[in-house]
């Protein structure tokens, strides 16, 4: 689909939420997963992230996706959008956060630690595909994902069903799985029995599965990034906007 310019059309009357997104952005995927989990109808406006459309930079001081628009409100920052969606649509879809105050705090700590310990190493291993960096990635995955899954003994990080912890961490695990399928990383089942099963389970879980991209899609996306010419909207069903040329 060719890039569009100017502003997107108004949000349709029957659609409560619009998201400024990018097809392969894991942060924006958190928001889309949350909206899907709540059963909220939403409209996706994909954006070029080097030549950013003005409506994006107007909405966010950093000009980053995701941006959520709802009832005239503008909500920024992926983890904040997940919480917002859970609180703004309390009576529909899944409960994304535990009711119990301590469980809620622990869920948020898990998300924070994944963000501090795993996400940076994921990108490091993507850029510097050395055995050393990949080794470090496997170490943090073991500590911060495999171990919790093993200790909890539940199908999802959120328990019997997926919740905010799964939503906030899954995008990177999906990309990890693509890298495994590409043959770039090895995730041995003997070392990661729970993580391997979890990935398989998530890919077939309704609410998650609909947003999964194929390994082939990710190959095109990652390769294009590595070449410095990101193919932001490869194989995407959504309209794609860029700034004025």
């Amino acid at each position: 689909m060719a890039a569009l310019h100017g502003d997107p059309p108004p949000i349709p009357a029957d659609t409560p939420v619009r998201i400024y997104s990018m097809e392969y952005c894991p942060f924006a995927q958190r928001s889309r997963l949350a909206l899907t989990a709540k059963g909220v109808k939403f409209d996706v406006i994909n954006c070029h992230l080097k030549n950013k459309p003005k409506f994006l930079t107007d909405a966010h001081p950093n000009g980053t996706v995701p941006v959520l628009l709802h009832k005239g409100n503008v909500i920024l920052e992926s983890e904040i959008t997940v919480e917002y969606v859970d609180q703004a649509f309390p009576d529909q879809g899944k409960k994304l956060y535990p009711e119990d105050a301590a469980e809620r705090a622990k869920a948020r700590v898990q998300i924070t630690f994944f963000g501090q310990k795993v996400i940076p190493q994921f990108y490091k291993a993507l850029r510097e595909t050395s055995d050393e960096e990949i080794g470090k990635l496997l170490d943090v995955l073991e500590r911060w994902v495999e171990e919790p899954l093993r200790k909890q003994g539940t199908p999802y990080l959120g328990g019997q069903d997926y919740n905010t912890v799964d939503i906030n961490t899954w995008p990177w695990l999906e990309r990890l799985d693509a890298r495994v399928q590409h043959g770039a990383i090895s995730l041995p089942e003997e070392r990661f029995p729970n993580l391997v099963a979890y990935i398989r389970r998530m890919k077939s879980t309704p609410g998650i599965a609909e947003l999964v991209h194929s390994a082939e899609d990710y190959k095109v996306a990652f390769d294009s990034y590595a070449k410095g010419e990101p193919n932001y909207n490869y194989n995407s069903p959504h309209p794609f906007y860029e700034g004025e040329v």
Binding site: I80, E83, Y84, Q87, A102, A105, R108, V109
Partner: protein, 260 residues
């Protein structure tokens, strides 16, 4: 570091304690692992004060002499840590959230309003990422350029938002989680303006000055302030690599080492 030099660092009368803290008194259900000058830990103390409940504060030495119980409680080995009802919680802003939910009486730190929470969280995140790092940059490299950068960030992320508020606090008529999460660094900057750390002028920051005075006068906030001299002494010692973690503290400090 030999214990002798640790003892020498403390102001007279302040003990250093080794080993584990005593059990909580019967009428106290919350304990905080704190450091007298840690602004992240101060967030938690402020949240607890807002709720009007009794809580126990355990000051800790940080750095290589931190007590083992701190490392055992938190994988990052940092303060604050909150112990309550058998739970061990860390990450300051998450603890603030927990305190508001676990102790629903007293002063509410959150509104039951999704957009107000989201906007508040964004302000805190911007403050965390755009202001706080510049504060530490100025602590470690006190020069004119770094002063300027911190003042600019303060104007963008505090003075201007305060200008847009038509209420006395970020939380509205009373302080909320936004105020609690940002205040410790605003307090330090405001307190240290008179001791040469930073030229914070009232002409450029009229709203911030009003706000600081209002916060200092608020019950719950006022019990945890320090003077400019205290902060300057601490941050100078921190920069020089020999932090006076318990300077002028009213409670003993727990360190790693042999039982006395």
């Amino acid at each position: 570091t030999p214990t002798g030099s640790l003892a020498a660092r403390e102001s007279s009368g302040m003990e250093i304690v080794y080993g584990d803290p005593p059990p909580l008194p019967a009428d106290v259900s919350v304990r905080v692992y704190n450091m007298e000058y840690c602004p992240f830990a101060q967030r938690v103390l402020l949240a607890l004060s807002a709720k009007g409940i009794k809580y126990d504060v355990i000051n800790c030495c940080l750095g290589p002499n931190k007590p083992q119980f701190l490392n055992d409680a938190n994988p990052n080995g940092e303060v604050p840590v909150l112990l309550h009802g058998g739970h061990v919680l860390y990450e300051s802003d998450i603890i603030v959230d927990y305190v508001d939910r676990a102790f629903p009486g007293g002063h509410r730190l959150y509104q039951d309003n999704a957009i107000s929470v989201a906007k508040g969280r964004l302000l805190v995140k911007m403050f965390d990422t755009k202001v706080i790092p510049l504060f530490y940059k100025l602590v470690f490299y006190p020069n004119h350029e770094n002063q300027g950068k911190l003042l600019d960030a303060l104007e963008t992320w505090i003075e201007n938002p305060l200008e847009e508020l038509d209420t006395p606090f970020f939380g509205g008529q009373d302080y909320s989680f936004v105020d609690v999460n940002c205040w410790p660094w605003i307090e330090r900057i405001h307190a240290m303006k008179d001791v040469g750390f930073i030229s914070l002028g009232e002409e450029r920051f009229p709203k911030l000055f009003d706000y600081a005075n209002r916060m200092i006068a608020s019950p719950g906030i006022s019990e945890w302030v320090h003077t400019g001299e205290e902060y300057k002494t601490f941050y100078d010692s921190y920069r020089k690599g020999n932090p006076r973690y318990n300077y002028h503290a009213k409670r003993p400090m727990y360190c790693k080492g042999k039982r006395a």
